[in-house]
């Protein structure tokens, strides 16, 4: 049965020199391929500043956290700056508890995240 496992859409767009990866849906183990694929494509295209935008995501579990930790690790390896936006209060809290906020600034909105990355 797979009717609960495909509720995810990941798309990328440019906002100046920042790549915004929109994550719409559940960030669980099923999200791994799509998020990794979007991040890898952005990296191969030369992205140095990225925003993971969770505005349309309201379910992130521990498997999703593990995916994001791998992205953080890869960003460090590639010298990329990473920010996150659109997380609700609960997931902002979890990201702080886990320690992810030490490696990626967390902003309320995409606009704030882009501004922080560009120094605007």
């Amino acid at each position: 049965m797979a009717f609960l496992d495909d509720a995810l859409e990941v798309t990328s767009r440019r906002h100046g020199n920042v790549t915004v990866i929109d994550i719409k849906g559940d960030v669980t183990t099923f999200a791994d391929a799509k998020i990794t694929e979007a991040y890898t494509a952005a990296t191969e295209a030369g992205a140095q500043k990225l925003v993971l935008n969770f505005h349309h995501s309201n379910y992130i579990n521990s498997a999703g956290i593990a995916i994001l930790i791998r992205i953080v690790t890869s960003c460090g390896r590639h010298g990329q700056k990473l920010a996150m936006s659109g997380l609700n209060e609960h997931f902002q809290k979890i990201f702080r508890m886990v320690g992810l906020s030490q490696y990626a600034d967390i902003h309320e909105t995409e606009e704030q995240a882009v501004a922080a990355l560009t120094g605007a």
Partner: protein
């Protein structure tokens, strides 16, 4: 706020709610949504309900992935009981593989995770969001995670 279980007497006599879920990732959402509805109706605030959703999600996911080890014809049994102002949720698997019940007492090491080591966050997250958690076994085999949320 709508509270159908507004009196202690009414709450304490509610029948437990039981779910028998296919042991398949994705079905943890059924359990967490059900738990959230009950907790909201009991009057728990948004922060606590959000935390409960995470705890239930992780408990059921653990049961599917680690307890039942992905065996597709297994099931996960979830029982939710209201005792006065307390919500008790038990998640049971069929124990194809017993998991380490002491796991998650210490916060997982993010540095190890950043180095690519396999670090599980689920049981630690459960412990962060409920007032009491107990990892035990049940007589006919199976792991049981008993979570308590108090008003």
């Amino acid at each position: 706020m709508r509270r159908p279980w507004s009196s202690k007497r009414a709450r304490s006599t509610e029948q437990p709610i039981e779910l028998r879920l296919p042991s398949c990732l994705g079905y943890e959402k059924v359990a967490m949504d059900t738990a959230a509805v009950i907790a909201e109706r009991m009057g728990f605030g948004p922060d606590r309900v959000a935390g409960l959703r995470t705890a239930v999600s992780e408990a059921v996911t653990n049961a599917i992935e680690h307890g039942n080890q992905g065996v597709r014809n297994a099931e996960v049994h979830v029982v939710m009981a209201i005792q006065d102002d307390t919500l008790i949720i038990c998640v049971r698997d069929q124990n194809y593989h017993q998991f380490d019940r002491s796991y998650g007492i210490q916060r997982p090491d993010l540095q190890r995770a950043l180095r690519g080591e396999d670090v599980g966050w689920g049981m630690w997250l459960i412990r962060q969001f409920v007032d009491e958690v107990e990892f035990t076994g049940v007589p006919n085999g199976g792991n049981e995670v008993r979570m308590v949320l108090r008003a």
